[in-house]
Amino acid sequence: MTAPASWRHSRSAQRRAARLVGYGLTVIALAAILAPFAWLVISAVSSQADLITVPLRWIPEHPTLARLEDLLFGSNAHADAFRAAIRNSLLVTSASTAISMVTGVLAAYAFARLRFPGRNWLIFVFMATYMLPGVAIILPIYSFFSSVGWLDTPWALIIVYSSFVTPFVIWLMRGYFETVPTDLDDAARIDGCSRLGALWRVVLPVSAPGLVSTALLAFLFSWDEFFFALILTQTEAGKTLPIAINDFIGRFTVDFPLLASGGLIAALPPVIIAFVFQRRIVAGLTAGSVQGS
């Protein structure tokens, strides 16, 4: 029943060709992703005069780490504000990611596995908060936080971001849970687990890739959110990174190297997190799942 030799040869030749194409595409993808970034790095170590040189020299005459050092270790108004913003961003983002993941995963499981009225349209109601642009609802939200004295605190942003991100966690994880065969749940429940127990013990571990990518999504939404942070914060006590970086922009002038430096530093935490978890994203179905045995 083995395939004929000629077929096997052309198969492996096909595979080799496919692999070459794969490497080629990977190189192209890497170039497309990294080229603008390389330019950003170059800008961060250039002076403003370097950037207005024509014809453009790709490497500046005197690269300087001055701006990066200034932001990380300097002691002037905008450096202090920048570092305070890092702290605020980390706090707000971690908290809102945690809240939205916990509540979202619970709800997603219910949507995926349980029957109840309103199962189909309730998700759209939830999504309305994200679909409506911020300009329409910002004033009442601002009034509310002003009245409880939470303006310029991390709490305001944590609450707002959690409310925006949770619908997505629900939708994403519901889709993901629906791909997990119900046999897994049933097996766990036969063993005496409750619904919650089945979720915790069996379904979640199998859904690690989905959980990681959803958590990344939640993290990056909060990390990058601009409009609500702009309106709801005022001083170092509350400003997050996007706002601190935006404050580098003057009325008539833009210190682009400074902006680039700030952007690079701000991109680090999500990149670090993604790098750590990138192996998790492809964990795949664990051995011993019902499917194969």
């Binding site: 096909q14 692999r19 794969g22 490497y23 990977t26 993808a29 497309a32 992703i33 970034f37 040189t53 014809p55 809240i99 939205s100 509540t103 979202g104 709800a107 219910a110 349980l114 029957r115 009225p117 759209f124 939830f126 309305a128 994200y130 679909m131 409506l132 642009p133 300009v135 329409a136 609802i137 910002i138 009442p140 939200i141 959690s162 997505f168 889709g175 993901y176 997990v180 619904r195 919650l196 989905g210 990681v212 999504l217 990056l220 601009f226 990174l241 996007p242 922009i249 682009f256 680039a260 700030g262 952007g263 701000a266 991109a267 990149v271 790098f275 990138q278 994203i281 492809v282 179905l285």
Partner: protein
Amino acid sequence: MSHALVSLRSRLQGERWVAVAMIAPATLVILAITVVPLLRAMWMSLFHIVLIRPGVEPFVGLGNYIAELTSPIFWGAMGRTFVLTVSSAGVSLALGLGLGVLMNQPLRGRWLLRSVIILPWALPGVVNAFMWQWIDHAQYGALNALLTQVHLLDTYQNWLGDPGTALWMIVIADIWKNTPLVALLVLAALQTVPKELADAAEVDGADALQVFRRVTLPLIMPMLLVALVLRTIDSIKLFNTIYVMTGGGPANATQTISLYAYKTAFQVFDFGKGATLGWLIAFVTVGFVIVYLLLIRGSARENRP
């Protein structure tokens, strides 16, 4: 037999309470802070509320909506939004799909691509906007420098100041920043495709492309739909990038509905119209989503063996 029915019904009823308990926390988080503002926004859209007429807030019913829906500025903005959204979401979906598949292949060094892919997405939006504005700069831009140095171009082009190209430069900036999101979602979705199915199809004589179309694609379709919806919403809401790169110009060539809504609400401070535009944007977004769902359901019905 009746025993099974009874236990089924009681199980369903019990399930309802479990469902409520599991969904309650999310409902609280989502709606507690936004329900009132959402309703207030709807209420405000029925009045004429302008900053420079404090205290004078006549009820206009659907007047704001009618004014906008008959305004050429509105429809111009809608048209540009449509072009931006379809191209940006469509291209990033296609590219993201390709990248996700690529990252799933057993190639050496794929860990590099997987780690690097998040960089554009992680960059703060405001920095991305300025970076692309600088790259596309008509006198000093890296894009012009690169293209002229490899002789693909003779002279520096005014990418952002020309009504014919400005919107496309914004599309490029949006695609570059957001394709990683699609790629990661696709990668995660591909993990749910059991390898045995693909192997079985191959043994049956299908080549790689057929395996992908018949086996893999239908299985990751739900995730693709989510990615598409996310990209659509983000493209419709895109603001900072456009504001920084072109300010809505040249001559409104890049004024999308989000920019128009922002200018109305926060520059002109016409709050009634701002709320109106906000809700119109939401309706448009829902419209897109409904179209996607119908398309998906249609194609799913076609693909069923």
